[in-house]
Amino acid sequence: MSSPRLPTVSRKEALILDLLAGASDLYGLELVEASEGRLKRGTVYVTLSRMEDKGYVTSSQEAKAQGAIGLPRRVYRLTALGRRAREAWAMVSKKLAWENA
């Protein structure tokens, strides 16, 4: 009998989950700024896209205000699964902390 495949959380994904948990909605650029150099502009959107596939985050294109210039931006928020994955990740990290000590 094959066991169900558990969702995984990479280090960068865990950081994004933390940042999104502390705010309601964030743009990719805001995540880069809030990460204090730990997330890069060139890879954050790739990571966010992967997290969307995993169901950890959801995104929507912002409505363009009248007179606004430029492309519509994409805003990201945490899903219920993302919140649970973050809690599970925090618990596992805490339980196994002594391994890295």
């Binding site: 743009y27 990719g28 650029l29 890069k40 502009r41 060139g42 890879t43 959107y45 790739v46 966010l48 896209s49 969307e52 995104s59 210039i69 430029g70 492309l71 519509p72 931006r73 994409r74």
Partner: protein, 330 residues
Amino acid sequence: MDHDPSSPLPGRFLRRIAERVASKAACDRVLQPLLADLQFEHVNARGPWARGLVRARGVLAFWQAFGVTSVVDSGRHLWTNAWGITEKESHATQRLLVHVGLGATVVTALLLGSEYSHLRSFGSVFFFLIPSMLAVALPIGTLFAFALEEKACADQRRSAPIRVVLLAGLATFAIGAWLNPVANQAFRERVSRAVTTEFVGPLAKGDREMTLDDLAERSSALRSAGHGREAKRFDLEWHKKPAFGASCAALALAGAAIASLIRRRLWQFLAAFAVFNAVYGLLRIGEQAADAGRLAPALAMWGPFLLVAAISLAVLGVAHRRSDAALTSG
């Protein structure tokens, strides 16, 4: 916002590239959000220097993301369409691959059978010879598969033979370059252990037990020590590994040429057998000439395959022109 409406927003050209080259998913979910944030940052930047910095950082980030998504998209595409893009292509690839596999299995079994009688007393040790036999059997299997499977040469399924040749060539190269040296060394040590009571091992590697790096290193050491003639033996072995990988392409061409000239299966088989013997003979002569210092090792190993490929291409060209002429006159 202090954006000057007369200066264009950055990213319009990059967006056009993304829309043309990247997949829709990569464009919508990675590249467009990146460009939207770049434009937002650019509009809000104060002064030309800050705007220049934002532009430079954004362009760099775009190409980085573009590179990552391209690799991911290409990998996904290759994985999904590994056998072929259409069902016909996929079927042709699998059919041809089965024929190559069958040919290689039969040749390996024959070679193993020929060694079995004098190695059976060592138990299962002769299984370590399988990689060295496979490195020879895969190109031979490719030759016979292409000679006997004339449908492989049909124009509308040209991608199937290319896929199979690439796969067989890469497998032959990988076996010859990495698996074969390890298996050969294991074989020698097991046989030595069985025949000598004082064996302490490990045995010093011979040229056939060396990887490409080992061979290059030994050859260079011998050359520096002034033993250029001895170094040629290692050069020969070094060239043998990629040449055998590439031989799958040359022998596939030979098989296709046979299939285009001869229609009867038995004659196709016999012609393929004759080609195999001719190539084998040329390789042996080349090897001996290289060992004696009369021929460059590269030419000894690559020459026979290049010759076969050139003759096969010429035959295929003639057959193609004939079929064109027949179609035009018909």
